[in-house]
């Protein structure tokens, strides 16, 4: 499988999970919430400062249909995640020597980067 194809498949799977399959996710409280209920500290939970955000609890405010509301929130989340995380990793990555050489013939520059790597 080519890398391009692999990425395309992985992205489609990710979008399907967040945008479609998430509707069928269990709505029961998660392990921590459940334990907090059972052992009596659930009431110490406070609403998050972002509880009124338009995508709070993975629902898009103003969209009535639960399936679309949740799916849309998931897809928006995926797009934000992809941009933020890929952007971060692109900034953090080590630059290959050929990347910093823009063909301007500064050999010294190039050697400096090679020795750094």
């Amino acid at each position: 499988m080519s890398t391009r194809r692999f990425f395309a498949v992985a992205l489609v799977v990710t979008l399907l999970v967040a945008g479609v399959a998430s509707y069928y996710a269990s709505s029961h409280p998660d392990g921590l919430e459940y334990v907090a209920e059972q052992t009596g500290f659930i009431d110490s939970a406070e609403d998050s400062a972002t509880a009124d955000s338009p995508l709070a609890d993975y629902q898009t405010s103003g969209v009535d249909d639960a399936r679309i509301s949740g799916g849309l929130a998931g897809v928006i989340g995926v797009v934000v995640m992809l941009l933020l995380s890929t952007g971060l990793f692109w900034l953090v990555r080590r630059r290959e020597p050929h990347d910093v050489d823009h063909g301007d013939g500064h050999d010294a520059d190039r050697h400096a980067h090679q020795s750094e790597a």
């Binding site: 499988m1 890398t3 692999f6 990425f7 992985a10 992205l11 990710t14 979008l15 999970v17 967040a18 399959a21 998430s22 996710a25 269990s26 709505s27 029961h28 409280p29 998660d30 392990g31 921590l32 459940y34 334990v35 907090a36 059972q38 052992t39 009596g40 500290f41 009431d43 110490s44 939970a45 406070e46 609403d47 998050s48 972002t50 509880a51 955000s53 995508l55 709070a56 609890d57 993975y58 929130a73 998931g74 928006i76 989340g77 995926v78 934000v80 995640m81 992809l82 933020l84 995380s85 890929t86 952007g87 971060l88 990793f89 692109w90 953090v92 990555r93 080590r94 290959e96 990347d99």
Partner: protein, 229 residues
């Protein structure tokens, strides 16, 4: 296991916040070794996949659910330093955009889900890779076991934090038993998802799996002994 605001007091939240900041700073340095032009986009995709997978709560019986944490999964796919950053971005987006996990609890959530599960998952994986037969087919099972162990350990660390800085005083023994019990079961789900996802990538493109790299190099050496210098 996203901790909401209010479970832990301010000093504890500040302390986990400091741990999170230090770990992210270290990981930004460490990830330079794991990320290049080819792996950076892949790491972005892994972080995004973990975000999506965390939306899929699976039932674990008796009115409870769990979802993938993804520390072991991300560490095996893109390396442990990058995995800490992957999970941190996921947790920041969840807290700010989706109100999933508290804001003052962000440091706690990065500590539990971003650091503990990555460190434990990766450590167990590396240990198993050392003792299991040196085959690429062992990568997915080793990752699955790493995922399984990471979840109850994170539950244990939460309980420890709660015993120090819980805002309500409750029976800590009961909290410990319940947290461990449920998260062992959730760990089974973590193992299944981690094993399936790592297994699919290993089956299609083993060269894209960070944790499989030493095994692939060994295999290449065996296949082409003439090329060994």
């Amino acid at each position: 296991m996203h901790v909401p605001d209010g479970f832990l007091d301010a000093p504890t939240s500040l302390a986990t916040g400091a741990v999170a900041v230090a770990a992210v700073a270290l990981s930004l340095r460490g990830a330079r070794r794991e990320l290049d032009d080819r792996t950076a986009p892949r790491a972005g995709l892994v972080a995004t996949f973990v975000f999506a997978a965390q939306m899929m709560n699976f039932p674990v019986g008796a009115g409870t659910s769990g979802h993938l944490m993804g520390g072991a999964l991300a560490a095996v796919l893109v390396g442990p330093w990058t995995a800490v950053l992957c999970l941190s971005v996921v947790l920041v987006v969840q807290a700010l955009l989706m109100a999933d996990g508290g804001i003052t609890a962000l440091g706690t959530n990065i500590t539990l889900i971003g650091i503990v599960t990555v460190v434990v998952g990766w450590a167990v994986f590396v240990l198993l890779r050392r003792v299991l037969p040196k085959r690429v087919s062992m990568v997915a099972p080793a990752a699955a076991v790493g995922g399984f162990v990471s979840v109850p350990v994170a539950a244990l660390v939460f309980t420890a934090l709660f015993s120090v800085g819980g805002n309500v005083s409750v029976d800590l023994g009961a909290v410990l038993t319940a947290m461990l019990g449920w998260h062992v079961v959730i760990g089974v789900g973590e193992a299944v998802v981690t094993g399936l996802v790592v297994g699919s990538v290993v089956a299609t493109r083993p060269d894209l799996v960070h944790g499989a790299r030493p095994l692939l190099e060994e295999r290449d050496l065996e296949l082409r002994p003439g090329l060994v210098r």
